[in-house]
């Protein structure tokens, strides 16, 4: 029905891609949330956290409406690139990116909050521009939190199911991810084959979370 290795390769590639894609945006938002004092900060925090608490299929439905052929973003994409988003690997990318974004932001934000603002001030007095301070002081000092966030979002992307199946479908060879493959195998009664994939998924998730926790736990020298 499908090639197990292809599924694993595809899942790893897409999840890596989506985690990298959201990294700059997640970092930017995390930095802003850590630094800003505007009163409506909590509204932004809530919106960003929505995919974390909404049922994944609910998020999937919203994405389906946005990125469907007749949806605002889907139609625009079609007009520019001549290709569909839904039912293609692009939809898998979108679904995993959206679902794992909140975890990236929350964890990276903690990283930014541990940066001593005195160090950033000193860097400014030494003549560093805004971006130089960000790249040479803020980000290096927040690196652990950022990396931990990246790993968590990667793990979440691997485990993503509800939104993906709605917006990308379960097309063997094209959009079937690890989670979707397990589901299909169970539907067909092929539980034994499913367990192999379950093991792979468990190993990946375990590895990512373990590393992430290790990074967050140990303090920088």
């Amino acid at each position: 029905m499908f090639d197990q290795w292809q599924v694993i390769r595809f899942t790893l590639l897409v999840c890596l891609g989506s985690s990298l894609l959201i990294l700059p945006f997640g970092m930017g938002l995390a930095w802003w949330l850590a630094k800003t004092t505007v009163r409506w900060k909590s509204i932004v925090e809530t919106i960003v956290s929505l995919p974390l608490v909404l049922p994944p299929v609910a998020t999937g439905l919203i994405l389906l409406n946005l990125f469907g052929r007749r949806g605002p973003l889907g139609a625009a994409f079609r007009a520019v690139f001549g290709a569909d988003v839904v039912f293609t690997w692009r939809a898998v990318l979108v679904a995993t990116a959206v679902m794992s974004f909140p975890l990236l932001v929350r964890t990276a934000r903690l990283g930014f909050e541990t940066v001593n603002p005195r160090l950033e001030q000193i860097a400014q007095t030494l003549g560093a521009s805004f971006w130089r301070v960000i790249f040479t002081v803020t980000i290096p000092l927040a690196a652990r939190g950022i990396l931990a966030g990246f790993l968590l979002s990667f793990a979440r992307a691997i485990g993503e199911f509800g939104a993906t199946i709605l917006v990308a479908g379960n097309i063997p060879g094209k959009t079937t991810t690890l989670s979707l493959a397990i589901y299909s195998l169970v539907q067909l009664g092929k539980d034994q084959d499913a367990y192999i994939l379950v093991l792979v998924a468990a190993l990946l998730a375990f590895g990512a979370i373990f590393l992430s926790e290790a990074l967050v736990r140990t303090k920088a020298p």
């Binding site: 160090l119 400014q124 030494l126 003549g127 560093a128 002081v137 000092l141």
Partner: protein, 244 residues
């Protein structure tokens, strides 16, 4: 160096800073009890804090003037805070070179001279958390000097040092004048440390300047253009400044 504070006000926890003076000197020492507002005063010059009202001028540049505010980046001021704020993620070499990218340097000191004078040669590749208190201080000072500032601000540079190190510390501060020719403002609660290094001495209490005097031992050329008497505003005294 000329520092002018006019009608500067900054509310703090227990009192407000109210500062007015106009001084030309190569080295200014600020003395007062802890909590008198000395650190906040330095932070106003550095641009790390912003006064609610008033004008702050350094040499011929206006740093703050009610609405206008020059950000720290453009003030060309080297600040060595009490907690040193050395970058923990960089080694010594990278720390002291950090200010290299300052847009318009106002002074230029040879890197080798700084490393030699401050005895940092053997420490260059060390990581910061391995250093002793005195070593860290020299790194912070070197970093400030090498950034090419117009002025250096030192906050309690002798506080954390044992008596042996204090002597070395004092010597280092003097080199700012004798070797590197960079004007500085030094804050300390220990009077003796200031009298041995600063031309002009200012007494701070409860956020206000309560006294200014020339340090007879050192100040030959300092000029005090104005003194603030508590609650009286600036009284201008014009004296000549001999730059020899």
């Amino acid at each position: 160096m000329r520092i002018r504070f006019e009608n500067v006000r900054l509310p703090l926890a227990h009192f407000s800073l109210k500062i007015d003076f106009d001084i030309e000197a190569h080295s200014i020492g600020i003395h007062g009890k802890s909590g008198a507002g000395k650190t906040s005063f330095l932070e106003l010059i550095a641009g790390v804090r912003r006064a609610t009202t008033g004008t702050i001028q350094l040499d011929d540049r206006v740093l703050q003037n009610n609405g206008a505010f020059v950000p720290p980046r453009h003030r060309a001021i080297g600040y060595v805070p009490q907690d040193l704020a050395i970058f923990p993620h960089l080694n010594v070499r990278r720390n002291i070179s950090y200010g290299n990218t300052r847009p318009d340097k106002k002074s230029s000191v040879s890197r080798d001279q700084v490393i030699e004078t401050l005895e940092l040669g053997k420490l260059l590749d060390r990581r910061v958390h391995d250093l002793s208190g005195g070593e860290k201080q020299r790194v912070a000072l070197a970093r400030a000097i090498l950034s090419g500032p117009a002025v250096i601000l030192l906050d309690e540079p002798f506080a954390a040092l044992d008596p042996q190190m204090r002597e070395t510390g004092l010597r280092l501060v003097r080199t700012l004048r004798t070797q590197f020719a960079i004007p500085f403002v030094c804050v300390s609660h220990a009077y003796e440390d200031l009298t041995s290094s600063c031309e002009v001495l200012i007494e701070f209490s409860q956020g206000q300047v309560v006294g200014i005097r020339k340090n007879a031992g050192i100040a030959r050329n300092a000029g005090i253009a104005g003194i603030a008497e508590p609650n009286f505003g600036v009284r201008r005294i014009v004296e000549s400044y001999d730059k020899s």
